[in-house]
């Protein structure tokens, strides 16, 4: 009967582990949970400050897990915390230095009045959310009045559609110095939303198929976002009522629709747009009321409008950009222009370079007459590419009457700028 004894020993051993994990509350202890019988809430409430809880697989059908002490929860072998669309937030963190890693959190309750989140971090600092997966979360991570937190390597997948309610993937409210890196966010309202944020760093994220914006700044100053990819969102990125934003080496692609933009700028000043790719968008950059923005070394390729700049934007500078195969390179809604364009490459440029210095000898007028007409009367768009319109355009280029007289690139590049 050695087999039976072996089984007896094994079951005794396992029950010992369960017993000890449930009871031991000693400081800095390592806990290894192998069963789903113990609730995560009990584990959290029994843990001592600065403990590390390791979940080895398992399924926890729970929500409303509140953490009031510094704690680390690490998931191994894909433990699942399922909110079952009940209750409010799944995790509510109300203490500094709480870290969650390697968890799968799913099914957050959707509610009309409460912004329920998979993880809500409230008034807490130095918190971390690393390598977690969020499935069907209403709001993914909600940071309120928190600072110096890290949100790195997470995946968000929600089934937001135009008809249904959807929350934001990562939502910041009155939070500063947050580092958001290497996340993939799909199917939310806004991929990443910052309201009253400050000095946040957003890098290497992939934001796709979000209903409204891939990334959205409201009243959030001194932030930086670089090397992100925004694709198929309602609009790629919206930067509103903000200043001192650096936007570097991002890709804005395939944002199509009547209100779709690669990048929407509204009431923003003193910022930098450098080295970005705007590819296949209805509008590459849409700018309303933006002041002192430097737009350099970007590629605008195959957009409906490369950039649409309203007359209330001034002192902006466009230099060393490539405008390639856009239906319209630049559009404006007025004859006034207070922005500078110099040294860009325009694929529509048909001038010459007799002195061979690499710069065209005739200035380029990037605003076509037709784009001006279309911005005033949208249905006119039906006539695009008709012979009559081409004729009008050529006439306007030779004798500008309606298009902004001062909106010219006096030094257009003959070659694509690398």
């Amino acid at each position: 009967m050695p087999k039976k004894i072996y089984i007896l020993f094994a079951s005794f051993f396992i029950s010992c582990i369960i017993f000890f994990t449930a009871l031991s509350t000693s400081n800095k202890s390592e806990k290894d949970v192998k069963t789903t019988q113990i609730s995560l809430k009990d584990l959290v409430s029994n843990a001592a400050p600065n403990d590390t809880i390791t979940l080895n697989g398992g399924y926890y059908p729970e929500s409303g897990i509140e953490i009031y002490k510094p704690l680390t929860i690490i998931g191994k072998n894909d433990p699942v915390i399922d909110g079952q669309s009940k209750g409010k937030n799944i995790f509510l963190i109300k203490n500094d230095s709480v870290s969650l890693a390697g968890l799968t959190i799913k099914n957050v309750a959707r509610h009309a009045l409460w912004d329920n989140a998979a993880i809500r971090i409230d008034n807490s600092h130095q918190c971390k959310v690393l390598n977690c997966k969020f499935e069907n979360a209403y709001f993914g991570i909600y940071l309120a009045k928190s600072s110096n937190c890290e949100v790195i390597g997470n995946k968000f997948q929600s089934q937001g559609s135009h008809e249904s309610d959807a929350g934001n993937g990562i939502h910041l409210w009155k939070s500063g110095h947050i580092h958001i890196k290497d996340n993939v966010i799909k199917g939310h309202r806004d991929g990443i939303y910052l309201e009253f944020g400050k000095a946040c760093m957003i890098e290497n994220n992939w934001s796709e198929n979000n209903i409204r914006y891939g990334l959205h700044f409201m009243f959030s100053d001194s932030c930086k976002y670089l090397n992100n990819h925004f694709e198929h969102n309602g609009a790629g990125v919206a930067v509103m009522y903000t200043h001192d934003i650096e936007m570097i080496n991002n890709t804005f692609a395939n944002n199509w629709g009547t209100a779709a933009y690669g990048l929407l700028l509204k009431d923003i000043h003193d910022s930098k747009i450098y080295g970005n790719q705007f590819v296949n968008n209805t509008v590459g950059i849409h700018s309303e009321g933006s002041i002192r923005i430097k737009v350099e070394h970007n590629n605008f390729i195959r957009n409906g409008w490369g950039a649409r700049i309203f007359a209330n934007s001034n002192d902006n500078f466009f230099g060393s950009n490539n405008f390639i195969s856009n239906t319209f390179d630049i559009a404006s809604n007025s004859r006034m222009n207070f922005n500078k364009f110099i040294g860009n490459y325009w694929s529509g440029y048909s001038g010459y370079d007799i002195n061979l210095d690499g710069w065209g000898d005739v200035p380029y007028r990037p605003v076509r007459l037709f784009s001006l007409l279309a911005s005033q009367q949208e249905p006119v768009m039906l006539l695009l590419h008709s012979i009559f319109i081409e004729f009008l355009d050529i006439a306007e280029r030779i004798f500008p009457v309606l298009t902004p007289e001062t909106l010219i690139d006096s030094k257009p590049s003959m070659k694509i700028i690398k």
Binding site: A166, W173, E195, I211, R212, Y213, F219, A235, K266
Partner: protein, 161 residues
């Protein structure tokens, strides 16, 4: 016979046209708000796509043109400058979303407003509208929360925001 039947059909035609015109006139006498298409309509004031069903507002002109907004504060700003920007038409009615019933529009001039830090409205005025005093009173228990009427909202947007 022919003449009579023809005149009959002409009479009928005239009658129908009259009814049609009359109904058209009656309709246009009463410009109505239009439900907000969330995640597709854009705010006229701030260009943001309207997507949070707790917040939103509408302004209807006497020519039945509908302007949609993502928040009460955006509409208030637009309302304050409306006469200056639109000399040939007038505001017919203003509507806001009932905070307690997502997407439902209620008469903004009769709504009860509560300004509270516990609300996070899209543009930061943090003011919600309610249909009745009783519904609003739930949110007025805290001393820091403030009750406003439509004029009070306009005043706040103009001077204290």
């Amino acid at each position: 016979m022919y003449i009579i039947s023809l005149s009959n059909s002409v009479q009928l035609y005239i009658l129908l046209t009259l009814i049609f015109n009359l109904s058209f006139l009656l309709c246009s006498c009463n410009p109505k708000p239009d439900p907000i298409n969330f995640n597709s309509d854009k705010c006229v004031n701030c260009s943001m796509t309207i997507s949070d069903k707790k917040w939103g507002a509408e302004l209807v002109t006497s020519k039945a043109k509908v302007y949609k907004f993502d928040s009460i504060e955006c509409m208030a700003l637009y309302f304050l400058a409306f006469d200056k920007n639109n000399p040939d038409t007038k505001v017919f009615s203003v509507w806001t979303i009932n905070y307690l019933i997502p997407g439902e529009l209620i008469d903004a001039e009769k709504s009860i407003y509560v300004r509270s830090n516990s609300f996070h409205s899209p543009m930061g005025l943090n003011t919600a509208s309610f249909l009745t005093e009783a519904e609003a009173s739930e949110y007025l228990k805290s001393d820091t929360n403030k009750k406003l009427d439509w004029k009070g909202v306009l005043n706040t947007v103009q001077h204290d925001w």
